[in-house]
Assembly symmetry: C2
Homo-oligomer: 282 residues x 2
């Protein structure tokens, strides 16, 4: 089977990285962006075969279309794109939440066109094509969310794309489960990093004293506020639940401190060390 | 001035890294450890000129002695060492807390011997000489805590040692201030990482879904429970205060979620992004 022709809509960090990785893997890739400057950069860096600011002529010649925009932009964009999509086209996204967008996105889909929701667990704190880099996708987790408008063949196409882009494990879950898990593995860590940095004393010369642990934990406190406030609010019930669970565990540490309970602290530390070793085999 | 002869007591991750870095920098370094096996490894890796399990004969021939043991072991060890220390010797430590140990350590010091408390902001999650690596010290922050038994010349000696080992910024603060800052920049991040990992559902196949942010935040959840429970309890008032401050900031995020307040979330994210950029210039 020859490789599908792919159009990427939105050449930011994730869309640009997709484009670069697929081009490297031998796919023919078109890019669509809001500015000619972005298209010029993508061409110059060899990420796309061709591209422009008008999606119509590219998507009508594509087998796969990836809408790498913010969650709330996907359905509206898909409606403008609908007349140009060929039957059989597989459309996908890269959004960090699924339940709240699934229905609207699937309703915007023209007959004969399929939609496979996807969430690449890779990104960067910076925005824009200048920070796109196929290397960030290598070995990363890739989550497929089939939805109601995806055939097995469409799922297979997206799985193959993920593998060809260099992703590691490909998991398949429902939109509901995706959002529950993401509240914990992605949104909660971002909330924690933001709260940690914001709890610093204004006057402290913190930079003189930090070590790797602080640097690692706060890397994602540098955060795209438009995207992440949208992601947080679209998943608020799950995220509030994850924050509650986390607060209880932090409370257990605080209680052990207040009670001067070394055994309790050690037990909490042994538990976290053991769990952490299950996540990351190295 | 010729380089001081240095004895490192304890060849774990930090002590071993010190030994290796000082040897690389041209210092004559002796190592003292509890087991002959550790000494053999340190010799084999070229980290020390000589060493053994008995400290007396090495410290009596040293200008600088670094006690790289757990906080609570320092004063007792120093008492056994006292008869063998020459006047003019500079003794230092690597402990992560200072206020609770300062008095006892200084009282254990024989006449004419100086003590400069120090805290290298570098380490690893693993324990033991196998994980010692001078590379982790390169560019790291180094904190000097002068105490009551350190002359300017002793401080200069330790500052020079830190620079020669490849540390970046060298800061000088009181024991009280050190412990306040460390509660925030080091202990709170460890408490957070532990609580985050411990708040995971037992049944979730989390490893399939995590991205870099989760990996970074939880790296230090793999934690030496003996050392860190001691560090936490020795600094409990400061750490409880840091946890309280952090909880308030996390609470602000939760409130914004509950009130569906996008503006408030964005403001919190802008604040954290701005603060984070002040810590880390890159």
């Amino acid at each position: 089977m020859s490789r599908p022709v792919v159009t990427i809509i939105g050449l930011g960090v994730v869309g640009g990285s997709y484009a670069g990785a697929l081009t490297e893997a031998g796919y023919k890739v078109f890019g669509v962006a809001r500015s000619d400057e972005t298209i010029a950069k993508a061409k110059q860096r060899g990420m796309i075969a061709d591209g422009g600011t008008d999606a119509a002529r590219f998507v009508s010649n594509s087998d796969v279309v990836v809408i790498a925009l913010y969650p709330g932009q996907i359905a509206p964009y898909l409606r403008t794109l609908a007349p140009y999509l060929r039957p059989g086209t597989v459309v996908s996204d890269v959004a960090g939440i699924k339940s709240t967008i699934q229905k609207e996105v699937e309703e915007a889909l023209p007959d004969g066109v399929e939609f496979v929701f996807a969430h690449p667990m890779a990104g960067r704190e910076k925005r824009g094509i200048d920070y796109a880099d196929p290397a960030v996708l290598k070995g990363a987790n890739f989550i497929l969310v089939p939805g109601a408008k995806a055939s097995q063949s469409a799922l297979d196409t997206m799985r193959k794309l993920a593998e060809d882009m260099g992703f590691g494990r490909v998991a398949e879950v429902s939109a509901k489960r995706h959002d529950e898990i993401i509240a914990f593995v992605s949104q909660l860590p971002h909330a924690i990093a933001v709260a940690l940095v914001n709890s610093d004393e204004e006057s402290a010369e913190t930079e003189k004293f930090i070590g790797d642990s602080f640097r690692d934990l706060t890397r994602i406190a540098s955060i795209n506020e438009k995207l992440w406030s949208e992601l947080f609010l679209c998943n608020r019930d799950n995220l509030i639940r994850s924050i509650d669970d986390f607060e209880r565990q932090l409370g257990a540490i605080k209680t052990a401190l207040q009670q001067d309970d070394k055994d309790a602290l050690e037990a909490l530390f042994r538990s976290s060390s053991e769990r952490r070793s299950r996540y990351v085999k190295k």
